[in-house]
């Protein structure tokens, strides 16, 4: 088992013929993901790399291929539109890699998805992978190993760093999810934690947060109330100065709220094992499992 994606995942790639879309479609196909369709308006009828049929619209792609999951690699200016189109076509899980989507677009996207019962992961995220089952996104498959640790993170490359540590020490992963660094995202830490708690093949969860906002504190409350599985936590930005935005739109320390110290304290209060550095993950897992 795993969460959100597995062998049943039938993927359609929105923006399959673009630079990033085509590169990562090949990576996903190589990993064994069932990529059943691609969409690029005006390129319907083509066949990508001789194996993936390309359609002009999401409606056509879903009708022809029974795709149930989509991944978005289109530019930021049209990414919200791609999310609307995927939800309207009946896609249940939409993963948006695109970074730089205007935040007001997201205020319109999120209620639209909610009404249709579709789940969005991202935007501005690396996607997710259930090792040896399905990879939807850009997380390098070669650093992951199948196993029983769930990973959820607001960051992309920092996730790879920590997954690399886990795999190297023999801790495989059930699913690794990058939820994205924007202020408005479709799937929160809590959604992922709750799915990992319910997944019989996940034994423990590694949660990677960062400075800014209060999502990690809310997640800590949820863990305390609703999770029996051990959770190991990390917060990036322990040395970041207040008031400066550190890359991610969500990563800014405002006044006294959103600091790494505050988040690490919330983790500790909730009984979460707190890593000081990424390399600590293995030691802490050994203690808790």
């Amino acid at each position: 088992m795993s969460i959100f994606v597995d062998q049943q995942t039938r993927l359609v790639v929105q923006g399959i013929t673009g630079r990033d879309g085509s590169f990562h479609t090949r990576q996903m196909l190589g990993y064994g993901t069932k990529v059943v369709a691609g969409v690029t308006p005006g390129k319907g009828g083509q066949v990508f790399d001789g194996v993936v049929p390309v359609f002009d619209t999401m409606a056509d792609a879903v009708a022809e291929t029974r795709a149930n999951t989509s991944i978005i690699y289109v530019p930021a200016a049209v990414a919200a539109s791609a999310i609307f189109e995927a939800a309207d076509a009946g896609i249940a899980l939409i993963v948006c890699i695109t970074e730089g989507i205007p935040v007001l677009d997201m205020t319109r996207v999120l209620p639209y998805l909610h009404e249709r019962g579709a789940r969005l992961i991202g935007p501005n995220c690396p996607g997710l992978i259930s090792p040896s089952r399905s990879k939807v996104g850009i997380i390098p498959g070669n650093i992951c190993r199948p196993g029983r640790i769930g990973v959820v993170s607001r960051s992309g490359t920092l996730t790879y760093e920590i997954v690399h540590q886990l795999s190297g020490a023999g801790y495989g992963q059930s699913t690794c999810v990058g939820i994205g660094g924007d202020p408005l995202i479709g799937t929160s830490f809590i959604h992922c934690l709750s799915a990992f708690q319910a997944d019989p093949d996940t034994d423990a969860v590694v949660m990677i947060g960062e400075i800014g906002g209060t999502d990690e504190q809310l997640a800590a409350d949820f863990i305390q109330q609703a999770m029996s599985k051990p959770v190991i936590g990390f917060i990036a930005g322990q040395t970041a100065p207040p008031g400066r935005r550190m890359g991610h739109a969500g990563a800014i320390i405002a006044g006294s709220s959103g600091t790494a110290a505050e988040k690490m304290a919330a983790f500790a209060r909730a009984g979460i094992a707190v890593m000081k550095r990424p390399a600590d993950v293995v030691t802490l897992l050994k203690e808790r499992l």
């Binding site: 205007p102 760093e161 990036a236």
Partner: protein, 391 residues
């Protein structure tokens, strides 16, 4: 992106927000000329910088004669103003706003922000203006009024009315306050703002309502579709290196240490800075080269990091997903050939096409120290920095 007060007032005025009569001036002569346009007998000259708390820093002058206005403008223009929000380096004043001075009876607070919890625009109001909202939230949280805006239908007039009555305004003022709030909402929505603030919104002696001081910030990600707003950007109010970084699609924040950092991804960049500190060093900067970084972008990153004279060693840490190690390695090699790198360089690559990336670095024959893990990279760059300092 931030804009000046006078620019925000011009924009908001176009959306029906009542603002005091006034105009911008770039010289003392122009400031005096503004008074004849505005009329009346009392004016305010306000320094235009991207910061609040200007009044307490001496950036707002009340004037009763043309000579006062001339003197105020002369005093402020060309000065560097240090406020509680600018940091000790302050910000340069190149423009002043000259406005009619209003006889104020009441000061109120109204702010529109994007609320992460509600995932919507939220309008916040408070019956006492002048304080910062964070301060109000701490002192009198119960008195804060809130309206959450449904994105599909927009802000409705009843919501503005609830706020206006909630602030204790009289009937005549309610209509004017509603116009101010609804106008601010439309400007927020139509211009891709992330914040609109009236602090204070005032009621004057004859009962009219004005947005006396306003602040607007915008979503950088949306400026591609708001050229009229984007052109209001004032580079003189920004750190030149951060502005230069933005031009190249890089995200740079200058810090106080001496170890330059070039990293892909904001989370990894923060974690790498943390690791440098754990290893006994101090990062000179935050720098995220983003996904899909081309050799040109990596070269630009080197130039940027080296423009900080304090830098005594550089750490490149790339864990490639959407990025590719071979592109980064090419960028590093190209950068070292183009830009002289006079300090020790540690490069750590991992992820997509890592073998290809390492091969490019090795075959370059350049003096590059490598590391396999983040911990090793942090220790190595701190050691290289210390060795350089000792020699």
């Amino acid at each position: 992106m931030d804009i000046h007060e006078y620019q925000a007032k011009e924009l908001l005025s176009g959306f029906g927000v009542p603002v005091p009569k006034g105009g911008v001036a770039y010289s003392a002569e122009q400031a005096v000329y503004r008074t004849t346009e505005i009329g009346g007998s009392r004016w305010v000259v306000k320094a235009q910088i991207h910061s609040g708390a200007r009044g307490k820093a001496g950036g707002v002058r009340l004037c009763a004669t043309d000579a006062d206005v001339r003197q105020a403008a002369k005093d402020l223009l060309g000065k560097v103003l240090v406020t509680r929000q600018t940091g000790p380096e302050g910000l340069p004043v190149h423009r002043v706003l000259v406005e009619q001075a209003l006889p104020i009876e009441r000061e109120l607070y109204v702010g529109l922000v994007l609320d992460r919890k509600h995932e919507r625009i939220v309008v916040v109001a408070h019956p006492h203006g002048g304080m910062e909202i964070e301060e109000i939230a701490q002192r009198e949280p119960a008195a804060i009024l809130r309206e959450v805006v449904e994105p599909a239908v927009g802000m409705r007039s009843f919501q503005a009315r609830e706020l206006a009555f909630g602030l204790g305004l009289g009937t005549q003022q309610v209509n004017e306050a509603m116009a101010a709030v609804l106008g601010a909402y439309r400007a927020f929505r139509d211009l891709d703002a992330t914040m609109v603030e009236f602090n204070p919104l005032v009621v004057v002696e004859d009962g009219h309502v004005f947005a006396l001081d306003v602040k607007m910030s915008f979503d950088d990600n949306a400026m591609f579709r708001r050229p009229n707003v984007a052109e209001l950007r004032d580079y003189a109010q920004e750190d030149p290196r951060e502005a230069d970084a933005a031009e190249h699609g890089l995200n740079y924040v200058a810090l106080d240490g001496d170890i330059g950092c070039i990293i892909n991804g904001a989370g990894l960049a923060m974690a790498t800075m943390d690791m440098i500190q754990h290893s006994g060093g101090e990062p000179a900067n935050f720098l995220d080269i983003g996904g899909g970084a081309s050799p040109d972008r990596v070269a630009a990153a080197f130039r940027l990091v080296l423009s900080d004279r304090n830098v005594k060693a550089i750490l490149v840490n790339v864990f490639a997903g959407i990025n590719r190690c071979d592109w980064v390695a090419e960028g590093v090699v190209q950068a070292i050939r183009e830009v002289r790198v006079p300090v020790p360089l540690v490069v750590r690559l991992a992820g997509t096409n890592v073998d290809e990336g390492r091969r490019i670095l090795q075959q370059s024959g350049l003096p590059i120290l490598t590391a396999a893990t983040l911990s090793e990279a942090a220790e190595r760059v701190v050691a290289a920095r210390n060795a350089g300092a000792a020699a």
